[in-house]
């Protein structure tokens, strides 16, 4: 490991209080690049997701893998690899049952999510703990964060923006999933119950054609986005490889929390006394103590 003293980004001359330090009562001035020095357990240090969310994520991603592999194989039935993959699922007649079972499970997970979402929000409002900036709801700050972050990656900003519990990427992805799930469930229902849905849609022929188109296109888009964006961002990019444990442990590493969700870390400091103690000690050890 590198020694801790090398490459400290902050030099006294460049100090700009608002940008470089954040003052927290009882702790002191926390430098913005403190994440380079913190002790960080890969399995996670700070709470992030409740057990419900972890369960929902598991349900969603496992069913998604099944849905994608059965559905995609059927969609690309004329390509050379399709029969081999299909044989893994025991032929199309069995694969369609698997697909439907997985779909039902995924709908269940979505319903479960909506229930916990509503219940949790109501609970927070009752306790007067509701804070819009800690939710998935997009706010103006997210747009500022995007531009700030792009500037950082281009090397025009010294630090990453101070982001909330859910940063812009997560909000984008969350709404993509909501839209995708809605389209896939609607189109999928139309495909699964064509007789019933034909009586509901104003123009059964167009509705069916559209459903065939949307179900496949939306699914392919979901797969591409999940593989090239979600997985890559979460597990594969430098600093994240080989795995972020959050989806299993529900915890986030201190380092990651500080870097990408700084505002949430401040919230953690308020909530968790031990964390406060730790940060205080760290600042003292590293000589970041302010006079």
């Amino acid at each position: 490991m590198a020694t801790t003293t090398e490459n400290i980004a902050i030099t006294p001359e460049a100090t700009e209080p608002e940008r470089d330090y954040t003052y927290v009562e009882d702790v002191g001035n926390i430098p913005r690049d403190i994440y380079k020095y913190v002790k960080s357990d890969p399995l996670g240090d700070l709470p992030r997701y409740s057990l419900h969310i972890v369960a929902q994520h598991f349900l969603t991603f496992l069913t998604f893998l099944i849905l994608a592999s059965t559905g995609l194989t059927l969609h690309f039935a004329d390509l050379w690899w399709a029969p081999y993959v299909m044989s893994l699922f025991g032929g199309p007649d069995l694969a369609r049952l698997i697909h439907r079972f997985a779909a039902a499970l995924m709908v269940l997970a979505s319903v479960y999510h909506v229930i916990t979402l509503i219940a949790g929000t109501v609970q927070k409002i009752m306790k007067k703990q509701f804070n819009i900036s800690r939710t998935q709801i997009p706010i103006l700050k997210d747009i500022q964060d995007i531009t700030h972050d792009i500037r950082y990656f281009l090397g025009k900003e010294p630090y990453r923006p101070k982001m909330n519990k859910f940063m812009y990427k997560q909000k984008l992805h969350y709404f993509a999933i909501i839209w995708g799930t809605f389209v896939l469930i609607t189109a999928g229902t139309t495909l699964l119950y064509p007789e019933m849905m034909a009586t509901i849609w104003p123009n059964p022929q167009f509705a069916q054609d559209l459903a065939r188109l949307m179900h496949a296109d939306e699914a392919i888009m979901a797969i591409t986005v999940i593989v090239f964006w979600h997985w890559s961002n979460v597990h594969l990019v430098p600093g994240r490889f080989p795995l972020q444990w959050s989806f299993i442990t529900g915890k986030i590493t201190r380092e990651h929390q500080l870097e990408e969700h700084f505002m949430e870390y401040l919230h953690n400091l308020e909530e968790i006394p031990e964390e406060k103690e730790y940060m205080k000690k760290l600042l003292k050890d590293k000589g970041f103590e302010t006079k």
Binding site: A2, E6, N7, A9, D33, K36, T73, L74, H75, A77, D78, A82, P83, M86, S87, G90, G91, P92, D93, L94, A95, R96, L97, D149, I150, Y152, F153, L154, G155, K169, L172, L191, P194, E195, M196, A198, T199, P204, Q205, F206, Q208, D209, L210, R212, L213, M214, D217, I220, M221, T224, V225, F228, W229, S232, N233, V237, P238, G239, F241, P242
Partner: protein
Amino acid sequence: MGNKPLLKGRKIMNQLTIRCFKEDIILELPKILITAILCIAAFFTFTLSGSEADAADKENCLMCHKYKQIGRIDEQGRKRSYYVNENIYGNTTHRNVPCRDCHSYIDKLPHDEVTEEVNCANECHVKPPFAKENFSHKNIIKVYNESVHGVHKDDSEELKQAKPYCKYCHLNPIYTRVDEKRIAFEQTLSRCLNCHERKGVTQAYKHITHRLRNKTSRSPQEVVQLCSKNCHANMPLMESLKVSPESLESVETYNESIHGKAVALGSQKAADCISCHASSSIHDVYKKDHKLSTVNDANRINTCNQCHENVNERFVQIDVHSGLGREEKPLLYFVNLGLQVVFYASVLGLVGLMLLETKGRKKDGILWQIKKGTSWRGRSKRK
């Protein structure tokens, strides 16, 4: 009895080769009732027991035709094989039909060069059980001749030439045992054998169970292959016959449909061409506007009802052979175009953002990242 398994390294060309899986995997409960009825039917139906090629070969045609290499290259340079494999022939539906019932033009031996075609509407000297008349295919040929594939007076000369005849689709069918998952083949047959000789009853049993499988004895894959390969998917041929634009792209649109895709992957349940375009007499395919056509607006509810439940007026409006043509379905065409744009834009945008971030973060080389999995902590490239 020529019941031996075929030898290694030989392939009977009876069935068209296509990619598909064995049979459908889903177990169906053994249809005990059906098989019991079958067994009884087999008892009473088949009393004929001669099953070798010999029975059909009173004139000893096989004396010459049983030799593998009998044949020649004809004047047009085409290979003509005159070989009839007696062991295979003894296992086909025609095993009891004397050669000259079909090849009626042969009246001396050695016979002259054959110029005539076999007429399948001939009566053969085989009297089926429960029948007063000799067997003949003429009933089905009558149905066929009235169908769209039969030759009609007002057809163009080209069309008459191109229309298929019996042998175009049919090869001498070999008895195969029914899928043992659906019907307990061995058990049921063993009960028949309590009273009957193995020789006849095995094939009689196969004869009946063969037709109990599905609407057609051929698999959906075979049906699709049969209709498309040399005919409906042959674009130059179809264009020269001036078929409607709908029918011109019918194979393509079928393959794009859920029926087509499932069949392409080996489904035994999804609809093939015959499922929708013919009734149980299989050969009565008509144009859509013909009142007897199974896909005629008036009959479509019944046709879809074969597989789908609760079929209603609105359901049958759904396009089965659905193309994405700009002329036929402009709205759908532009929706599709829009979706494509959205797809490429969003994927490229998101991936671009990720790559930018990766680039911004990555201070070490790829190798280091793979080995150690880090890092963006601002250290310079490793030495």
